[in-house]
Amino acid sequence: MATPGTTIHPEVEDTFAARLKGVYQTVFVNYWPYWAACLTAAVLNIILLAYWNSAWGVTAELTRWGGHVLALFGVPVEEWLYFRDIGIEGNPFTRTSGWLTVGMLGGALVGALLSGNFRIRMPQQKIRLLQGFLGGVLAGFGARLAMGCNLGSFFSAVPQFSLHGWLFMLGLFPGTYLGVKIALHPLFLGRRGRRRRAAVRRSSAPAQKPLLPQPVVGGIVAILFAALAYWAISVEAAFGILFLFGIGFGFLIQRGRICFTSAFREMWITRQGDLARALAFAMMVSTLGFAALIHSGIGGNAQFAAPGIFIGGLIFGIGIVLAGGCESGWMYRSMEGYVQLWMAGLGTVTGATLLAWAWDGWGLYDFFIAGWPAINLVESWGWPSAIFATLGLLGAWYLLVTWWETRTPQEQEAPIPSAERQPAPRGASAASQPATIQAK
C-alpha cells in the first residue's frame, strides 16, 4: 500500500531505494510549497524562542560584524551608543547569535548544493552589482533604524505582540512600492538595445554539459557542518544548538524561497500573493505559539514603537527591492552564487554599521527613537485584545493580498500595458525577423 504523500509511478518499482529517492527529490531537490516552508520556519521559531528566550533575527549580529571590521582599524566602536545597547563583546563564535547567523549561511549553502542549484550567477548588466550594494546599504540602515529586519522586526516581532512590528510592516508597503518605482526606472531596467538581446538559434536543444556532482559536495559540506555542530555542542551546548537552528532556518529559506521582498514587491508588479499568504498563515501560527510561551514568562521582547521604526521599514523596503533580497533573501541567494546578492550582503553590513554610527553621530536616536515607549500589546491591551488584534492584522494582510490579486488590472502599471501592444501584422514575421534578431 502506498504511503500517503508518496507518489508511486506505475512504471517505477516500489522498492526501498526508489522511495528514498522519492523522498530525496521531494525534500532536497524540488522546492517546497511556500506554506510548508513558512510553517516549518514558524514552528522552528517558536521552539527557538522557548530555548533562547529570543526569536529569529540576524541584523543585530550583522551590525556587530561591521563593528568588528571597524575595530580592526582601531575605531572605538564599543563606545558607540548603539553597540552599548546591543553589545559587541567577543566575536561571532563566542555569541549564540553569531552561531545562528553563520548556521543560516551554512544551511542555505547545503540546500543549494543538494538541489544542484549552486552556480556563480554574474549579472549581465554590471549596474546590478552597484544596485545590490546600494540596496543593501539602504536595507541595512533601515533595518537597524527599525531595530530589526524582516525577521526581527516583522516575522518574529508581530507575533510577539510588539507594536513596532506593526509600524515596520506599515513602512514596508510604501517602501517596496517606491523600491519598485526605482528598480523599474530606465536607469536600472537598462535600455533594451544595450542588454543581451534575444538571438535566433537553430538548434534550441541545450547541450547537456557534465555537472559537478553538487549533491555529493552538498553531502560532504553537510557532514562537516554536523561535525562542527557536534564539536560546538560538546564545548558550549548553546553554540552548537543555535548553529543547528541556523542551519535549519537557512535550509528552509533556500528550500522554500522564503523571500519577504517578493511577498511585498509582487503586490506592485505581478500581484502574486502566494508567498504573502503563506507568511501571514505562518505568523498566525507563531502568534499562538508565542502567546503560550510569553504567558509562561518566556520572550515577549518589545521595541520602541517610535516613528523611526516606520521610517526604517520604509527605507528597508526600498533597499530590499533594489538589492533583490531581504535579510533572509540575500543570505540564501548569496549561497546559491548570486554575485549581486554578495554585494547586497556587503551593503547590508555597511549600511547597518553606518546606522550604528549615525545613532548618536547624527543624533538619529534622539530624533527618531528617544522618548517613545516600547509597547507590548499584551501589557497595553490585555491578552484577548492582543491575540485577536494580531490575528486580525495578519488575517487582514491575507485578505488584502488576495483581494488585490483578483482586482481587474485595468489601470495596473504593468511593464507593458496591453493596450499598447499592437496586433502583430500578418506576414510581417518573415520579413522583419532578420532585422530584429541580432546575436548579442
Partner: protein, 83 residues
C-alpha cells in the same frame, strides 16, 4: 533526466542568466512584444523563481506556455508562443 524527444524549435532565444527578480518577467514580456503572432520564444533563466513567475506573467498577458520547463543543471529553458 529523460526529456521529451521532440524539442521545440524556437524563433528566438532570450538568455536571462544572471538576471534576478524583478527583471526576468519584464524582459520576457518586452521581448514578446517585439515578436510576431505565432512565433516561439525560448527563455533561458538560472533564477529559480522565474521558472514560475515568468510563465505566470506570460499567461496573464494571453500568450501560451509550451510544454514543461527543461532543466539543464542550474539553467531552465522555458518556451512560449506569442498570441
Amino acid at each position: 533526466m529523460a526529456q521529451a524527444e521532440e524539442r521545440i524549435t524556437a524563433d528566438r532565444v532570450l538568455d536571462l542568466c544572471g538576471e534576478a527578480c524583478p527583471y526576468p518577467p519584464i524582459y520576457t514580456l518586452e521581448e514578446i512584444q517585439d515578436m510576431s503572432s505565432g512565433e516561439v520564444l525560448e527563455v533561458i533563466t538560472d533564477h529559480p523563481p522565474s521558472v514560475t513567475n515568468v510563465p505566470q506573467a506570460v499567461v496573464k498577458e494571453g500568450h501560451e506556455v509550451l510544454g514543461e520547463p527543461v532543466r539543464n543543471g542550474a539553467e531552465f529553458h522555458l518556451f512560449f508562443r506569442v498570441k
